[in-house]
């Protein structure tokens, strides 16, 4: 197990290195002058030269790459051109919104999907199963920003239960902050929960038909205990695969949802940096999103080996 973790950590580090290289190559080395891109076509020659120097573009690419990566290792992400402040400060602030938002969405999605999927499979073609299929069909069909808009209309504008957008910050207590995050997290979670429900349902159905479930029943184990002890632990294995794939959608989806709900998160920062062509910030944010996805996948891999003893002995 320890060896597995170490070997996965090594490959995690290597993947991150490659990702940083790819980001750097695409944004800074491919033809096109980053300074010109940032200032647009109407820029004056001397402003361009000044910006080039500020960004260190007069240095060779290799040096620039090493400085960027080296800086990250020390927590220095460079300085944003538009915000005139260190990117690390910017990101840290925004992270306080995006990370809780994504985690809350993941939590909602799994807490909804797993019981629903299992319940639907346990009574196939029953009323619960049909309701779940309708829900998941809807969830898959409707995009999350649209759900977000509907939520604002319904829960904020009409009912006034939740703020329509914005974020009070964590300084004013956990309650208001969570209240502000709940609707966006739901909007982010529902489409993914719909997919996960379907996957859970079909994984559970498959396991219910397995020989070892019949064995358990032949021992005299009742239906409920068979489901709990035999079906669910086995069905979780394929479900984890899909959950792992979905996690990147949660981070990516935050970009849309944060804009709909006007939340000062990483996604919104990415959107703003893009529209202001702040390459320094874009570069860092892309790396952070990639890093999050890679780290989460690492955790999913570890989760696998906890769920499935067959993987443990193979390493």
């Amino acid at each position: 197990m320890l060896r597995l973790i170490i070997s996965r950590l090594v490959s995690l580090a290597i993947t991150l290195l490659f990702v940083s290289l790819a980001i750097f190559l695409i944004l800074e080395v491919l033809p096109g002058d980053p300074a010109a891109i940032m200032l647009g076509t109407a820029a004056r020659e001397d402003t361009l030269a000044a910006l080039r120097q500020e960004m260190g573009l007069d240095q060779p690419a290799l040096i620039r790459y090493l400085e960027w990566v080296g800086g990250i290792l020390y927590g220095d992400l460079g300085t944003s051109i538009t915000y005139k402040m260190p990117v690390s400060t910017l990101v840290a602030e925004r992270m306080n919104v995006t990370l809780p938002l994504s985690l809350l969405a993941i939590l909602i999605s799994t807490v909804l999907a797993l019981p629903l999927g299992v319940a639907a499979a346990a009574r196939r073609d029953g009323p619960v199963d049909r309701a779940v299929l309708v829900f998941s069909q809807l969830g898959v069909a409707v995009p999350n920003f649209w759900i977000g808009l509907l939520f604002i209309l319904f829960f904020s504008t009409w009912l006034g239960w939740f703020p329509a957008g914005g974020f009070p910050g964590w300084g004013n207590g956990i309650g208001p902050a969570l209240q502000a995050l709940l609707l966006p997290a739901l909007a982010l979670a529902l489409p993914q929960a719909a997919v996960l429900t379907r996957v859970t349902r079909s994984a559970t159905l498959e396991v219910i038909g397995a020989d070892f479930v019949r064995t358990a029943r032949a021992k005299g184990v009742d239906r409920r205990s068979t489901l709990r002890r035999h079906v669910v632990p086995n069905a979780l294995i394929p479900v984890t695969t899909i959950l792992g794939l979905q996690l990147s959608f949660f981070f990516g989806g935050a970009i849309l949802v944060e804009n709909v709900f006007n939340l000062p998160g990483l996604g919104r920062l990415a959107y703003q940096a893009l529209s202001q062509r702040d390459l320094v910030v874009i570069k860092d944010i892309v790396l952070i999103f990639s890093g999050l996805v890679i780290v989460v996948n690492f955790l999913v891999d570890i989760g696998y080996t906890i769920l499935d003893p067959r993987l443990r002995s193979r390493t």
Binding site: A216, A218, G220, R223, P233, L307, D308
Partner: protein, 542 residues
């Protein structure tokens, strides 16, 4: 058999199949009795309703079938009147069950000890500590080495035979009155099968359990049954003591089944000395694993300097237990997997040294018939295309290829119109005929048949073996016949090579090998063939 009242008594049981099935009843008017300490074998081919009988007796029939009439009584208890809770009480406590597939019948993510202890837990028996103690006792009782270690293991860490012992331990945990065993040894190697049969028999004797034993294999029947019930299309056609049924079968169906069991006495040998050698394999070697950094310890020598040759018109049998490397050799000879070393010659052609591109035009010379008639044909292609595809890729005019496909279908005993249908419309035996036609379409010199009849019922098996023999004569084929079944090998092979752990330990003319096995392992394999003596007697006078 001092106790006159039966443990299990099934009376006039009829079970209905769903509306779209090919017949109305899974079981029709079935009546059976089993007494304490007695083993009743229910025999039949696939679809005869034998497993359905077993599932009805433990209340686990699939929801799509329904009991239409009759009764099943366990002691005095009317099982068919039980509700779900009543069934949970009976299952495990009064009726234990062992299933066919040891590889899938245990929960892969749960330790062995927990799975056995669950039986006690489900019936709210014993304390935690006592459950563990009993688990170890049970594992010891089914002769598992190192029970403490096995208790902590997960199923995938055990062999098939070990898993089946765990299943038996589990089924017998609460000392049920009735043990149902549904083909419990079908997926096991012969030597393991012999051990497991002996174990079930010993436990029955010791505890006086009534055993309902489902099997398709008359060899197994001869080993374990006190009485036999023969099922055909869901109806009981014959019932009697094992000696009556095996030696003096009354019903024509029983006679036909018994006659189809291949004899261990080979037919007279063919005269082949003057025929040229078509396939020559020299020092073929293949090792699995061991390529990566950490994997050296897990190297498996699947083929270790395997050498043999086959003459025109000759069949060489490659027999051995699972993991002996026989399938690896078969696939290496076709270069479906690349051997690590050794030479393969087909006629004058050095097949093993050809590049992939150079090999392509010579591919037709050696063809394969696979084990699984259900999985080895593309379900989305019509049979005619499946057969003609090979020749067409070799440059034969499509029209000509389809014409030949029709002729071949007729040659293997199917109507030419079969070409226009899809594989799922055929039975297992018919699909295997299609598989053979597909291989023959390439006009090969060598045919590799990997367990080609293992998935078939005995009566179908006998027909396919006959077909293979005829086609061999007609086309002068050299056949490498891979099988785990020594009875089949005795009937079809001219010579037999016995494989163990990647090596050929003995190779001889079939008659000689069966009459006078030299190697200790060959002797062990032969001794383990079920029903050796009893079945032979029955077959003598066919």
């Amino acid at each position: 058999m001092s106790d006159p009242s039966p443990v299990l008594s099934i009376e006039n049981l009829s079970i209905g199949l769903p509306a779209l099935a090919d017949r109305q009843h899974a079981i029709k008017n079935l009546s059976l009795d089993i007494r304490a300490g007695e083993t009743l074998c229910v025999v039949g081919e696939s679809g005869s309703g034998k497993s359905m009988t077993a599932m009805a007796a433990i209340g686990l029939l699939p929801p799509s079938v329904t009991v239409l009439a009759g009764s099943i009584k366990l002691g005095g208890l009317d099982l068919l009147s039980l509700d779900e809770e009543g069934w949970c009480d009976v299952r495990g406590r009064d009726v234990g069950m062992v299933f066919q597939e040891p590889m899938t019948s245990l929960n892969p993510v749960m330790r062995v000890a927990d799975q056995i202890a669950e039986t006690f837990q489900a019936h709210r028996l014993l304390s935690q500590a006592d459950r563990h103690r009993r688990t170890i006792e049970l594992l010891t009782e089914v002769n598992l080495p190192n029970p403490e270690l096995i208790a902590r293991a997960y199923p995938h860490e055990l062999s098939g035979g070990q898993r089946q012992r765990v299943m038996i331990a589990m089924a017998l945990a609460l000392e049920p009155k009735l043990l149902i065993a549904d083909e419990p040894t079908t997926a096991l190697d012969v030597t393991t099968q012999a051990q497991v049969l002996k174990l079930i028999d010993n436990l029955r004797r010791k505890k006086g359990t009534a055993v309902l034993f489902i099997t398709h294999d008359f060899g197994v029947v001869a080993e374990i049954a006190d009485r036999v019930a023969v099922l055909q299309h869901g109806e009981l056609v014959e019932q009697g003591t094992v000696d009556e049924v095996l030696k003096n079968p009354q019903h024509p169906y029983t006679k036909r089944l018994l006659a189809a069991v291949p004899s261990l006495t080979p037919p007279p040998a063919k005269e082949l000395q003057r025929e040229p050698i078509t396939l020559k394999v020299d020092a073929l070697t293949k090792t699995y694993g061991g390529r990566g950094f950490f994997r050296r310890s897990r190297e498996v020598q699947a083929a270790d300097a395997v050498s043999f040759d086959i003459r025109r018109g000759e069949t060489l049998g490659l027999v051995g237990e699972s993991g002996s490397g026989k399938s690896t050799v078969g696939r290496c000879v076709l270069r479906l997997i690349e051997p690590d070393g050794g030479k393969i010659e087909i006629g004058d052609l050095m097949f093993s040294s050809l590049s992939q591109a150079d090999m392509r035009p010579h591919r037709r010379k050696i063809q394969m018939v696979f084990q699984d008639p259900f999985a080895s044909l593309n379900p989305r292609r019509k049979v005619g295309y499946i057969i003609a595809e090979g020749p067409i890729t070799q440059g034969v005019d499509p029209e000509q290829a389809f014409k030949e496909a029709h002729a071949l279908l007729e040659r293997v005993g199917l109507p030419a119109q079969a070409a226009e249908r899809y594989p799922h419309e055929f039975s297992g035996g018919q699909r295997q005929r299609i598989g053979i036609a597909r291989a023959l379409a390439m006009k090969p010199d060598v045919l590799v048949a990997d367990e080609a009849v293992s998935a078939l019922d005995v009566s179908v098996q006998a027909e396919i073996l006959k077909l293979i023999r005829e086609l061999q004569k007609e086309f002068g084929l050299s056949i490498l016949f891979i099988t785990h079944d020594l009875r089949v090998a005795a009937q079809i092979c001219d010579r037999v090579a016995v494989m163990q752990k990647g090596r050929i330990v003995e190779m001889a003319e079939t008659a000689q090998l069966f009459a006078d096995p030299r190697d200790a392992y060959t002797r062990q394999l032969l001794a383990a063939v079920p029903g050796k003596t009893r079945i032979l007697e029955g077959v003598q006078d066919r």
